[in-house]
Point group: C2
Chain length 221, copies 2
DNA sequence: GCAAAAGTGTTGTTTGTACACCCATGT
DNA sequence: ACATGGGTGTACAAACAACACTTTTGC
């Protein structure tokens, strides 16, 4: 659970970020293709070593910006993993994992150098470096349960959206279909969203009303 | 969030444990009185530096045994804190916090040396060293929510107990009174406990039936 | 007028909450 | 007989789940 740079003896503190987005009706995670170092030619979560004048939260936010260019999104600490499987042996240190929810439309991947990023569907991942599959699974479970009692979905959608778009986000994350009427009633009666006033016309059918989140910040409902 | 030993420059990885128990109808946390070092004469959570051939979970379990003598109890990682307020300045490193649930009857505090342990009611804590108050608060919140959808209370009670004793544990943790009939119905219908067969006579009143947890290991209900 | 997605209500079930009295025992 | 905690049932409210048809638009 670490990036290019890797050193040795003193304990390492790595920070990795599970960056999630809903793209084309699927929940996806941003992975980096490793073109050198341990686990060469595998995919891994973006991450790096803690650079000690910064806090853990700052390190996670920095990594997120480096990889996606986005800053003001939902970002939460997930879990700290105590064993870092590293190629053959096991490296000493810990990896503090975070997860972030981004709108794919706002993301600008750094297509730069040798470390190629790409979005992968969370349900069909290859074996990842550093045992990262477990980290992604953990993030998806956490997100699923948070969906039910918080408004975190705000971080996956633009200011204005249709109820169908919101429902698609929920369905992609929960990986099951929801009843349209019950879903709408619930979202509205809990007050997490409210009508934005306008409508959007798109295709040969009735225009959809637009909504916004009542608050674009984490709220428990 | 660290104990006697404290070093410097390279990042530190400390492990601290919020050890909770219900004693005399109150939820209490085990604290250590610091008789030297930073925060001398304050109380702090038990903890220490990660000793690198061991994993985080092992370090937490070791600390727990050192302080209480108990081993096979509920122990879960809580959160990793990235700033370690340390007396005046701020030390570089992280503190990985765990929380454990123990039966006070099984605990043998090490009344040893200079670091005196004692149980404190979680609702009336003094200002703790290393910003530990926030850690305790976090643990109590987590425990409260886990009570509602898991059987973790098993770790706070002996094999056999009465329904009133179980209810007292819940009330101590949630810090509010529960309805006896609703509580009993819920516990039994969810199948988390079952009758043990016997009864216990204690005082000038009807004897109480004894119950046991269906499973003495973490289960989501 | 047809295809396509938007929008809307009712009913039954389950879950949770409020609430008051009798029972078995020791003294 | 009385004080003490153990034990039980019912009625209402709220939350959730299942389910099908009409509306507005572009072509």
């Amino acid at each position: 659970m670490s990036p290019p740079g890797h050193s040795l003896t003193p304990p390492l503190i790595a920070v990795v970020v599970v960056i999630l987005s809903v793209i084309e009706d699927g929940l996806r995670v941003l992975l980096i293709h490793r073109s050198a170092g341990p686990f060469r030619d595998s995919w891994a979560l973006p991450g790096g070593l803690l650079a000690p004048p910064e806090s853990l939260d700052q390190a996670a936010a920095r990594k997120l910006v480096e990889e996606t260019g986005v800053g003001d999104v939902y970002l939460e600490q997930l879990y700290t993993f105590g064993e870092l499987p590293r190629g053959d042996a096991t490296e000493r240190g810990v990896a503090v994992a975070y997860f972030a929810l981004v709108q794919s439309a706002q993301v600008r991947l750094r297509e730069s150098d040798t470390w190629q990023p790409a979005w992968h569907n969370v349900h069909v991942l290859p074996p990842l470096a550093f045992g990262n599959n477990a980290v992604v699974d953990y993030a998806v479970r956490r997100l699923r349960s948070k969906l039910e009692y918080t408004n975190v979905a705000y971080s996956l959608l633009p200011r204005q959206f249709t109820l169908s778009e919101l429902q698609q986000v929920y369905e992609a994350i929960l990986d099951r279909e929801l009843d349209k009427r019950n879903f709408r009633r619930r979202m509205l009666s809990l007050g997490v969203i409210k009508p934005a006033g306008g409508t959007r016309m798109e295709g040969a059918h009735r225009p959809a009303q637009l909504y916004t989140f009542a608050r674009r910040e984490p709220v428990t409902i």
